[in-house]
Structures are given as structure tokens and as C-alpha cells.
Symmetry: C2
């Protein structure tokens, strides 16, 4: 059997060598009050000398905590999103002394495998979990977490903002700003490629585009808005349709980067030079947008930072009850990423 004996040094050994009780050693380890400076230094020296590390299982058993935070994904979510969330969550978890456990919930026929999820919740004894979209909007998932009595924070929830703490960013405002950026370059015929209508971010981005155009006194013709589904191919077809318009738009704002890359492909196919004859901008700051030619101007969505904030909120909720209900929402900032795919219109 694989054992974790390592050193075999325990709190008892440290206490004996220091000539104090294990309680005092415990105080030193956990930076608790109630230990004299001299005693503290002596104990710490012995801890350092033996490179002693407290046994996590023993600590967890007696304190009735696991120091485990779960990050729960739907299996279908993009790896890029998963990677960003983890990187951010890991930073915050490590700072607070928590471990990050990854879990995925399967979906079939649009329904989640709740039984498997409930089993995970029951087995792992998370101190808290972060629910990512779209799980964070599913009534059954929320009910399961609440029934298990596990603290949770939601990332970019679509519904019931009052139900639990959450983190989010302002997609509408970012899309508005992105659109105004094109306007300020001199573009007037700015088209838009939308995303799925049941996706909160897609709707918000479209709304931001429309709001910006309205502010500039432009009534957007229906044909300037092409439908898409957030996948690249839909952007390609949307691009072809928009390029066939007369007069042709001088700029196309795609609701996410994957579709923007599709628009880029359509432009290349039809010999429309980007950004000389057409500006194309996206949203998300996906890595593929850095590999395209020209490189994609986009909006950076602070996914990692949102996950980091979510874990921080979780950890704070574990603390003093008096402060527990204070932090219920946190808004993160986006950032415009200017690269080569947008430029002032020629002629």
C-alpha cells in the first residue's frame, strides 16, 4: 500500500522536544494567539528543523473541514474556459490554504446527470464549490448543492441573482464600448453577428451593440444583424451573408472570437482584405484570435479573475459569521484588446 509516512514526525514529537504541550504547538502552527514570543520561537525552530508538516487528514477530522474547494464544470464547456477558470481559482485557493478539486457533470439530452453529481457532493465533503455556467443556472443543480449544505458561489449567473453570491462582468457595457471604438475609427455601417438567444452573454453583447448605435443616432437595419451560435462555422456563413450586402458593411462585430474567425475566413475566401476593406472585431480574447491573420481585435473577458474572486468570496464565507453575508456580488473589469483586425475605413 502506498503510505504517506514521509517523516513520521508528529505534533507529539515536536511538543516533546520543545518541552511544551501539543496544544501550544498547535497554536504556533495555526498562528493562534496565546503563546509567548519566546515559546513560539523555540517551537517554530524545532518545526523547521524537522521540516514538520501537520497531517491534513487529522486536522480535517478534528476540525470537521476538508480544505477542499470544488470547481464544477459541465463537461461540454470549452477547454479554454476550463483552463482560465482553474488558473484563477488555483491562485486564490493556494493563498488561502485550500486545495482545488475538479469535477465535471455530464449532460445528456440537455439534462444533467444529477445522481452522479449528488454522489460527488456526498463523497467529497467540499467546504465549498464554485458553479460555472450553465450549471449555475440549473434549478436541480442549485437544489442539490443547497440540500447538501455546501457553500457555493456562482460565476456569471443568468437568473435569480439574489439566490447566492456571484461574480460577473458587464458584457453589455463592453460590447457598447467595442462598438463605439469602431464608430470613432470612422465606421458607420457596422454589422453584428449574434450568439444563441438563450445565452446571457450573447444577448447582453447584442444589446450593447444596439445601444451604442442608438446613441449615435443610427437605426440598425435588420439585415445588419446576422444570427450565429458562437461556433466558428456560423460566423463564416454570417460573414458571407454580410459581405453580400449592398452597400457592404465596413466593419463586422462578432459576438465571440470563434465567430469572428469565421468572418475572417469568409473575408479571405471572397478576397476582402482585412483590415483594409473590412474591419472585424470579436469578444472573449480566445487564444485562437492571436493565431489568426490579421490578429483579432477583441475584448478580454476576465475569466481567470472571476474564478479567483469566486474562490475568495467562498473562503471569506467560511470565516466569521458576522461578515459572512456581506459579500454577495462582485463585478470584474473587461479590457479592450486592440490588435490588427480593425482599422479606419479607406476611401
Amino acid at each position: 500500500m502506498a503510505r504517506n509516512d514521509r517523516k513520521g514526525v508528529t505534533i507529539v514529537d515536536i511538543a516533546r522536544e520543545a518541552g511544551v504541550s501539543i496544544k501550544t504547538v498547535s497554536r504556533v502552527i495555526n498562528r493562534e494567539e496565546g503563546a509567548g514570543a519566546e515559546v513560539r520561537a523555540r517551537v517554530q525552530a524545532i518545526i523547521d528543523k524537522h521540516d514538520y508538516r501537520p497531517n491534513a487528514s487529522a486536522r480535517n477530522l478534528s476540525s470537521r473541514r476538508s480544505y477542499l474547494i470544488g470547481v464544477i464544470f459541465l463537461r461540454l464547456v470549452s477547454h479554454h474556459y476550463v483552463g482560465e477558470v482553474q488558473a484563477g481559482a488555483l491562485r486564490a485557493a493556494r493563498r488561502a490554504g485550500y486545495q482545488l478539486v475538479v469535477e465535471q457533470v455530464e449532460a445528456a439530452d440537455g439534462r444533467f446527470d444529477l445522481e452522479a453529481f449528488a454522489a460527488v457532493l456526498a463523497n467529497v465533503a467540499f467546504d465549498g464549490v464554485v458553479l460555472t455556467p450553465p450549471l449555475c443556472d440549473d434549478q436541480d443543480v442549485l437544489a442539490a448543492v443547497e440540500a447538501a449544505g455546501v457553500a457555493y458561489v456562482r460565476m456569471a449567473p443568468n437568473t435569480e441573482p439574489g439566490r447566492a453570491p456571484f461574480v460577473w462582468m458587464d458584457d453589455l457595457e463592453a460590447a457598447r464600448e467595442q462598438t463605439l471604438g469602431l464608430w470613432d475609427m470612422g465606421h458607420r455601417r457596422i454589422a453584428f453577428v449574434g450568439g444563441p438567444s438563450d445565452h446571457r452573454a450573447a444577448v447582453q453583447r447584442r444589446e450593447g451593440y444596439l445601444q451604442a448605435m442608438r446613441e449615435r443616432g443610427v437605426a440598425v437595419p435588420a439585415e445588419w444583424i446576422a444570427p450565429g451560435d458562437f461556433f466558428g462555422l456560423s460566423g463564416f456563413y454570417a460573414g458571407e451573408a454580410l459581405l453580400a450586402l449592398d452597400p457592404r458593411p465596413t466593419a463586422i462585430f462578432a459576438g465571440n472570437d470563434e465567430m469572428a474567425l469565421g468572418v475572417l475566413a469568409a473575408a479571405a475566401k471572397h478576397g476582402v482584405a482585412v483590415p483594409e476593406a473590412l474591419s472585424v472585431v470579436g469578444f472573449d480574447n480566445a487564444p485562437a484570435g492571436e493565431m489568426s491573420w490579421p490578429r483579432l481585435t477583441t475584448v478580454h473577458q476576465p475569466t481567470a479573475e472571476m474564478a479567483e474572486a469566486a474562490v475568495e468570496m467562498l473562503v471569506k464565507r467560511f470565516g466569521d459569521a458576522r461578515f459572512r453575508e456581506q459579500i454577495t456580488e462582485q463585478k470584474l473589469d473587461y479590457r479592450l484588446v486592440v490588435r490588427g483586425s480593425a482599422a479606419p475605413p479607406r476611401g
Copy 2:
């Protein structure tokens, strides 16, 4: 404090209600031998009735195990790779009753932050870890894991195959097959875009290309092989250089998908229709290759399956010592992914 009380039902409660000792309940929980069928059924019924779940911390403390498997990444690795590895590792870990803990090692100036890594190893008490490239080839990382006495499996190691169990795939053979596929379509002038020379997969793929051409009796001119660095932009420049050759290659095999997308962009820029006037194929089956136009013909690298196999090997090593040293290597199969970017040459 966030407690994991949940039910409050313990092994003692179950034992009392069943009229047996806690040891017998333990036998039923762990499917150990030495419990009569009738007793077993009675105990199980009471467990089910209360939805009793053993306390992981207590089990871990007394058995001196953590049931935690770490997957260790270099922070710089692509999210796509991270996502694939996790999906596979999670499958195997869940089957075996282990939890997956994600860890990242920082790198600065080409050196790893070993101190942080050692701290993680000391604090988490992993039963085992999976080392991903390039960490799996770093002497200091290997030494740290071995010093901590933690079992480990390496993914696609470049050096010292005898040092520890590992999983891998045959990049050379896959590249050879990919090249022969172009040949069989009728292509004769097949160019190649290479990757970084210190990267094992890059070298193997180039070797597979050369071997296939050699088998077909073609002496590859030096200008048919363009240098690249696995990033998209290098593929773009390589594509421009190869398209300027006279006679022009009818097919370009890029050492990975990102570079293949760069070649695609170069072809679009120069008005070279793909696949009519030029076939382009890649390697890896990265998601961006599905969004391109045309969609990229490539080789699927079984990253998730490799991670799954790695965790399985780890779990088996925890078992009976007599079988422990048996599994030291496992080779996974690649798969050719035929999409739209390659076709027989015209004319």
C-alpha cells in the same frame, strides 16, 4: 465555520442499529471478505436507509492515505492540453474512488519554482501524481517527487524511459501515415513545417515525414522543410515561404494544428484555394482546426486517453506489491482525422 456535518450519521450509529460491531460495518462498506450474506444485507439496508457516507478524513487518517491524485502542469501549457488531460484523468480517478487535485508549477527564466512545488508535495500528501511534459523531463522535478516518496507516472517523457512508468503515443508513425495519405491522394511535392527541435514530438513528426518520403523514393529538397515554433504565426510565414517556391508544393504538412492554421491564412492571403490548389494538413486535433475554413485534416493525439491510462497505472501501483512493477509503459493509439483541407491535386 463551515462544517461538514451533513447527516451526523457515523459508523457507530449504523453498527448500533444493525446490532453488529463497527468492524462489520467497515467490512460491508469496503466490500471486504468476512461478513455473512445475511449480515451484509442487513447492514447495507441500514446504510442505504440513512444514506450514510463514510467520513473521508477519518478513513484517510487511519489508513494513512489521502485518496488524492495530483496532476501537475507547467503553468504555460495550453488550456486545450490541460483540459484534455483533466478530462481523461478524471474518468480514471473517479472509477477508482480517487479525487483529482490540480497543481501548477511556475516557470521563470526557464527554471521551475521548485520550492513552491516541494511545498505542495509536502502539504498535500498525494497518493500519487501524474507529471505532464515538460515537467516530466526535468531532473529537479523528478528528484523532488522521488525525495517525497510519492508514486508517479510520466506523460510522454523524452528522456530516461526506464526511470518511472509512463504513457506515450507514436508521433513518428502517425506523421509517416499522414504523409503517406497525401502521397496516396496523388501529391508528390509535399512540404513540411517543423516545430522546435528541443521538443520530442516535433522531432518525431518530422522524422515520420522524412521516412515516408524516403520510402517513396523521394529525396526531400532542403527548401521543402520550413522551420516553425508550434505557434500560428510561424506557420503563416512558413506558408508564405513555401508558396513562393517554384514549382510550388501541392501539399503542406504542418507539425501541429496551430501552424497549419497559419499556413491556411497565408494561402488565403495569396489567393491560393484550399484544398483545390493546395492541401494543408496538421497534427494534434486542436479545436481551432474545426473552426477553420476549410476544416483541418489532422491527426488526433489521444491526450485524454493518455492521462486516463496514466492514472490507471498509478492506481494499480497502489495495489498488491506483487503486481506493482509490472506496468511500466503504455502506448496509446492515434487516429487520422479526415476533414476538408486535403484533397487530390488538380490538373
